[in-house]
Amino acid sequence: MIETPVLERVLGEALRHGGDFAEVFAEDRVNSSAVLDDGRIEELSSGRDRGAGIRVVSGETTGFAHTADLSEQGLLRAAAAASAVARGSGPGPGTAVTPDRLGDPVGRPASGDGPGTVAKADTLELLRRADEAARATGGAVTQVQAGYGGSRRRVLVANSEGVLAGDEQVRTRFSVSCVAEGDAGLQTGFETAARTVGFEMFEDVSVEELAELAARRALAKLSARPAPSGELPLVLAGGSGGILFHEACGHGLEADHIVKDASVYVGQVGRQVASPLVTLVDDGGVGTEWGTFAVDDEGRPAQRNVLIDKGILTDYLWDYLRARKEGRRSSGNGRRQSYQCLPMVRMTNTFLLPGEDDADEIIAQTPRGVYVARLGGGQVNTTTGDFVFGTTEAYLIEDGHLTEPLRDANLIGNGPEILTRVDAVAGDFAMTPGTCGKDGQSVPVGCGQATLRLTGVTIGGTAQ
């Protein structure tokens, strides 16, 4: 994208007036998407965005500017803007660092077919097949929307510490959303598959299966009763979303919250924060999961980070700036939505390691409770630890059996409390994709978990 000598001159310009760290992050992203709705291919969309973000750090202050102009002149202008704001806003200039020579590039070559190489007609065929499969599931399915999205994102990172890294991330996503209509009104069902691969995702993923899952979810809820209200035992199905740990502790372990004393997990490293059945890992390098990459958006290779080991908190998640403050290295968790954003500490693929219980046994040994087959999104306040997560497919457990389907509801809990309530973890591990939003930036993440039980969670239904 940008020649190395140019990067060196731009970094030199960025530090000309002082500052102790400078970085160029360049990105070239191509998106394509297609939507089938109401039985018609409604919209094919193509998008192209490229540009660079330049930051200059001087002590505690970061200056940032971005540009869509990747010429040397454009980059030098952005570098000057970033350095001027840093100089003007903070203490005097630090020791200027001149990059002698950038290191050898790290990263990986492109892989997979994405926008530009996938025939548009092929994506439409998938959408039509999904629409048919969903409608064939039941006559009460009254509406189907299917969407395909592909993206190719090339990134280049160079900084004044000599890092030169590049990555090419090809991602593919397919989703189906259904509406079913019954006597009690409308209900919805949704299912999605998303991976960091190209069009070859569909060698493993059946769009018909996704469509049937989404349709069945909507149909099941037509006869659903209102979810209970109050505290009950909860069984989460393997691969039901994994968002429980993402919200209950993932965000609270992000070092930007820790250094500002804005997390319930401050000062907890080395302590028992969860049931001994809980071993939680964040790993940006796992296979082709949705949150996978070769290097993060600060040029650090993805790595496996054990956050909780058998219930003991072992570490937080770090980006460059927060790690530097603590005199340590980034854990490969510096990510950003686009070149127009500053990086911050983000999760990648966050998952609970499988346990030794049997999924069916867990249900059989639950006299009364709620079984969640699929979760929706969630939200957390890291300072108090209070979090919610929503169900999109759930059933009542009575005498150890799944009985009636339940209407959608949010569940609410407090992270540190909930983590101690995990009393069974099975081996049927599965990952699911999601989009994580923080401070206005969205990034793709993976969540994973096997079937597990919580001894009590507050369920926010309408039944008394």
Partner: protein, 463 residues
């Protein structure tokens, strides 16, 4: 390197220049081909203060184009984050190619001028361009310092931000649409932490305006501090049925969620519980809901919609009776009605769809503010913030379940704080159970006004 048609970093310049660019692209349309070009550019400054210093200062400008092509009743779309001439040519070609693959649909068409005159709304504060970055930095630092010292129970300022921006948009089409608009905006936002360790509580406050000069740091800090401090000592509240009073900010969120069920597209596609109910009673007679982007006080005020038609006042619910939905051109055609001038889009990278910009409820006959409603309710729950709106509110089915924190209402006033509870009902029930609509209208950021709202009989889940 190819020539750039428009310099993208001139603050405060004339959007007419963008319109000229849009018209040049429209002029490249082929025979029988409809082309709509949306061009936008903007600039932003964002400053975050922390612990007496500037944590980050971002200054940036950006521009982009979105092109819709309609050929043989088929739509194609492409966008690019650049106004480079070569990129624009590629984008037009890509939109054309995309159109070839869509299903022909007689309702697919570009907007045509409908004779409704645009109501001018002045959204541009020319003074913003003259504010030095140093003064903005000072504002951010002062906000942080003021929050830190506002109350001895505040132990941390998690974030204190100043931000401003400009946006200019031009829209032109082969169907005769020509529209330009520009707006400036500014905000101060602060989030504080009160108390210690496990007893910590958070609160946020903000002030928004059209620029730098109309921001009120004192109000933002007071709001943040009050919200955090009054929650100190909160415990998990009791389960049961209760009247719920929603804070103005929460009410804004509720109206925003409700608005997706009022979209003419959602209705036409069977994704709204309002489908087929025009003329029916859908709520308590106290409910009158209007979307009026021509009200210059509204945060989402606008002269034109996202297809270049004049924005207009649309009464959606009157005295509890459902009157109409909001439409863009395609959804209106599908329903056999005219566009209500309600197209919205997420910038140059999105395509238009129907949506609201400036929803507000008519104040109830009593003219109550928050205190008046609390007194009238007597006993219940006051909700100051909700979580999980996107995971717990389904505008298709109407199922409603959100996390909440707030204070109990006892003897008509706020009493002890509660947290980690949920509040549940259905959107359909909520509309019928509205007891009081406040007259304390405040135009908050987003697509709806804030006004205190009381809803009878919701299910609370707690201990």
């Amino acid at each position: 390197m190819s020539r750039t048609l428009v310099e993208t970093s001139t603050p405060g310049s004339d959007p007419g220049e963008l319109l000229a660019l849009a018209e040049r692209v429209v002029a490249r349309s082929g025979t029988g081909e409809g082309v709509e070009v949306y061009v936008a550019r903007g600039s932003d400054t964002d400053i975050r203060a922390y612990d007496g210093e500037v944590e980050s200062l971002t200054s940036a400008s950006s521009a982009g184009i979105g092109i819709r092509v309609v050929a043989d009743s088929r739509l194609g779309f492409a966008w690019a984050g650049s106004l480079d001439e070569r990129v624009i040519a590629e984008t037009l070609e890509e939109a054309r190619d995309n159109a070839r693959f869509a299903t022909p649909d007689e309702h697919v068409q570009l907007a045509r001028p409908d004779g409704v005159p645009a109501v001018p709304v002045d959204l541009w504060d020319g003074r913003l361009a003259e504010v030095d970055t140093a003064d903005k930095v000072t504002a951010a630092l002062a906000l942080e310092r003021s929050a830190r010292g506002a109350d001895p129970r505040i132990r941390q300022v998690a974030s204190a931000d100043y931000g401003d921006g400009t946006v200019e948009v031009a829209l032109a089409s082969t169907t005769g649409i020509r529209a330009v608009s520009r707006r400036t905006s500014g905000y101060l936002s602060v989030s504080v932490i009160a108390g210690d360790g496990e007893a910590s509580q958070t609160g946020g406050g903000f002030s928004v305006g059209r620029g730098f000069h109309d921001l009120d740091a004192g109000a933002a800090v007071d709001d943040a501090v009050t919200r955090a401090v009054r929650l100190l000592g909160a415990t998990k509240g009791p389960s049961g049925r209760s009247t719920v009073v929603f804070d103005r900010r929460v009410a804004t969120t509720l109206l925003s969620v409700l608005s997706s069920a009022l979209s003419g597209e959602a209705v036409a596609k069977g994704r709204s519980f309002f489908a087929g109910r025009i003329g029916e009673t859908v709520g308590d007679p106290v409910l009158t809901l209007v979307d009026d982007p021509t009200d210059p006080r509204a945060y989402g005020a606008s002269a034109y919609d996202a297809e270049g038609l004049a924005c207009r006042r649309n009464a959606l619910i009157e005295h509890g009776v459902l009157r109409q939905f909001v439409y863009d051109t395609v959804a209106a055609s599908r329903a056999g009605v005219s566009s209500t001038g309600s197209a919205v889009r997420g910038g140059f990278s999105g395509t238009p769809g129907p949506g609201c910009r400036a929803l507000a409820l008519s104040p109830g006959p009593q003219g109550f503010d928050e205190a008046g409603i609390l007194a009238a309710v007597g006993e219940g729950l006051f909700v100051q913030s909700v979580t999980g709106i996107h995971s717990g509110v389904n505008p298709v089915s109407g199922d409603f379940s959100v996390g909440a924190e707030g204070l109990m209402i006892r003897d008509g006033v706020l009493a002890e704080p509660v947290r980690e509870i949920t509040v549940a009902s259905t959107l359909q029930r909520i509309l019928h159970d509205v007891a009081f609509v406040g007259a304390d209208v405040e135009w908050l950021p987003g697509i709806a006004a804030g006004q205190t709202l009381a809803v009878g009989e919701m299910q609370i889940s707690g201990v």
